[in-house]
């Protein structure tokens, strides 16, 4: 394939030589993108199918209580220190960044308001979700991927054991339960970290910081008597937890090709989970705050 003559005629010599290669490269790129697009659509379809199958089997959860408890432990207790550490520093960063700017206008007494609102609305749910995607999501994909490549999933199928009910339901439920719990802790430690920075580095008295932070969380939600910012954040984190679990399980279940396939499934799970969380975050924010 070569570019049209009038383009070649109008181009300098080196560009005319390079153009056919550029066109060929573009063509290959477009085709690759099309293949990638097709694969992505198929992947998304199987993930949605798994989500629907999981929703239809949620009533199996009492039978899976042992696995649910194990998954809660794995996702909750083992990630607690990471969420607390990241949440603490995120609160400190928000406090420092906003505090420096606000102090130029003599408004640093508003730091508590900004830290509390940003942690509960956005930072807490988002940071917790990213930590869960990177740790629990990757572990789920690796675990189910290893089961897939070592014939354990085939063994379940042969024994007529419903793998969605047996493997996916407890994992999805666990993440949907543990994500809001970790989010509350992340919010709390972030606000505390912000207060530490505000009082020690920006000269805002701790009592004033606490008062403005609590004032920011006074607006009650329409449905439940919990501050609107807190419960919107918790609602988001429940959805994010479910998304991470479904995407990670779907990636693991379709893993093929030995250790390499498991590695690919794991990285795909983390990548897609974080993308899904960010996209869902926009639409949830629009829905909750419009």
């Amino acid at each position: 394939m070569t570019p049209p003559d009038h383009i070649l005629a109008a181009s300098p010599g080196w560009l005319a030589d390079a153009l056919p290669f550029a066109f060929a490269a573009s063509l290959v790129y477009v085709l690759l993108q099309a293949a990638w697009f097709r694969a992505s659509v198929v992947e998304m379809g199987s993930t949605l199918e798994l989500a629907a199958a999981t929703a239809l089997r949620l009533h199996h959860l009492p039978r899976r209580s042992r696995w649910l408890m194990e998954q809660l432990f794995a996702a909750g207790v083992r990630n607690l220190h990471v969420v607390l550490l990241v949440g603490l520093f995120m609160g400190m960063i928000v406090s420092l960044q906003t505090g420096i700017e606000l102090s130029r206008f003599g408004q640093q007494d508003q730091i508590g308001t900004i830290v509390a609102a940003s942690m509960t609305r956005e930072m807490g749910p988002f940071i917790t979700s990213v930590v869960l995607a990177a740790t629990t999501g990757s572990a789920l994909a690796a675990e189910l991927g290893t089961m897939s490549v070592s014939d354990e999933l085939s063994a379940l199928e042969v024994m007529s054991v419903d793998r969605t009910s047996f493997l996916v339901v407890p994992r999805v439920a666990a993440l949907m339960i543990i994500a809001p719990v970790l989010t509350v802790l992340c919010d709390t430690i972030g606000i505390v970290g912000g207060g530490f920075v505000a009082s020690s580095q920006l000269g805002v008295p701790l009592a004033q910081y606490t008062e403005t932070a609590l004032d920011a969380l006074q607006e009650k939600g329409a449905l439940i008597p919990v501050p609107m910012d807190v419960y919107s954040g918790l609602f988001k984190s429940i959805i994010f937890g479910g998304l991470i679990a479904i995407i990670s399980c779907a990636s693991g279940l379709v893993a093929r090709g030995g250790a390499l396939g498991v590695g690919r499934a794991t990285s795909r799970a983390v990548r897609d989970s974080i993308i899904a969380v960010i996209v869902a975050n926009y639409f949830l924010t629009w829905f909750l705050y419009r």
Binding site: T146, D151, A155, S160, V161
Partner: protein
């Protein structure tokens, strides 16, 4: 397909429980099965031999519905497996046992839990009855004390035995073995072969054994099918099979055939 002497396959009036009829299967450009046809009599143990990549394991996976043929029929008790509904396939699978090459034990369940899983999921048996059945099958495969261990804590030979016990736990009518001796030393292989023979005699179940070791075929199988390029080119009773006249089979078996 012909038998080794060039005459047609065994006559169809036998009590056939399982039949492959002109089965084709390809994975992309790679054609694995190219018109595979053979049948298995009820209560018999049929060995499937052949070189690597000739479609032995692929054929076995068709029997239990893990793979669907591109063309042809895979019949179990006269019903074409690909035509079965999800429920019918599930019911059929509950009457079959499958021993995977590497055991395929669920690695986060203990040996006992692995064995109990199909009973817990698919039957109304109480915990006491399930525990009794698990203990019985573990004793049958000569590892009565392994119940509390995780798969990662037992040897390859023990994993095979646990896989066999798990296949037996549902008391299947048809047993499918996928290279039961793969990766085992000769001594453990012999004990696994003897165990398979014991099970065949005591349970009177039909079995398909994918294997490329002559000692296993000799000990366990009543008949053998030999696959070459996705087709069954030999189907004979074991004794005749091990005195081959087909050139490809002679080439494949080598000196083993004479001992």
């Amino acid at each position: 397909m012909t038998n080794d002497a060039g005459s047609p396959s065994p006559p169809p009036e036998r009590d056939v429980i399982l039949r492959f009829e002109d089965v084709h299967k390809a994975f992309g450009a790679q054609r694995v099965l190219r018109g595979l046809s053979f049948d298995v009599q009820r209560g018999k143990v049929l060995g499937i031999m052949g070189g690597s990549g000739t479609g032995k394991s692929v054929a076995l996976r068709h029997v239990i519905g893990l793979l669907q043929p591109d063309a042809g029929r895979v019949e179990v008790e006269g019903r074409n497996v690909p035509d079965l509904s999800t429920e019918e396939l599930s019911d059929l699978r509950k009457r079959m046992g499958y021993v995977f090459q590497e055991g395929a034990l669920i690695n986060w369940l203990t040996v006992e839990e692995n064995l109990a899983l199909p009973l817990v999921e698919n039957t109304d048996l109480g915990p006491g009855e399930i525990a009794d059945r698990v203990a019985e099958k573990l004793a049958m495969v000569h590892i009565p004390d392994a119940g509390k261990k995780l798969p990662s804590e037992i040897s390859g030979g023990m994993k095979k035995r646990v896989g066999l016990a798990r296949a037996l736990i549902v008391e299947p009518d048809i047993l499918l073995y996928d290279e039961p001796n793969a990766g085992l030393d000769p001594e453990i292989s012999r004990s696994i072969n003897e165990l398979m023979r014991e099970i065949a005699e005591s349970h009177e179940s039909t079995a398909l054994v994918v294997e490329h070791r002559v000692d296993c075929i000799r000990t366990v199988c009543d008949e053998v099918v030999f696959l070459h390029e996705g087709e069954a080119i030999v189907h004979q009773p074991t004794e005749e099979f091990l005195r081959p006249s087909h050139p490809r089979l002679i080439e494949f078996l080598g000196p083993d055939a004479l001992t």
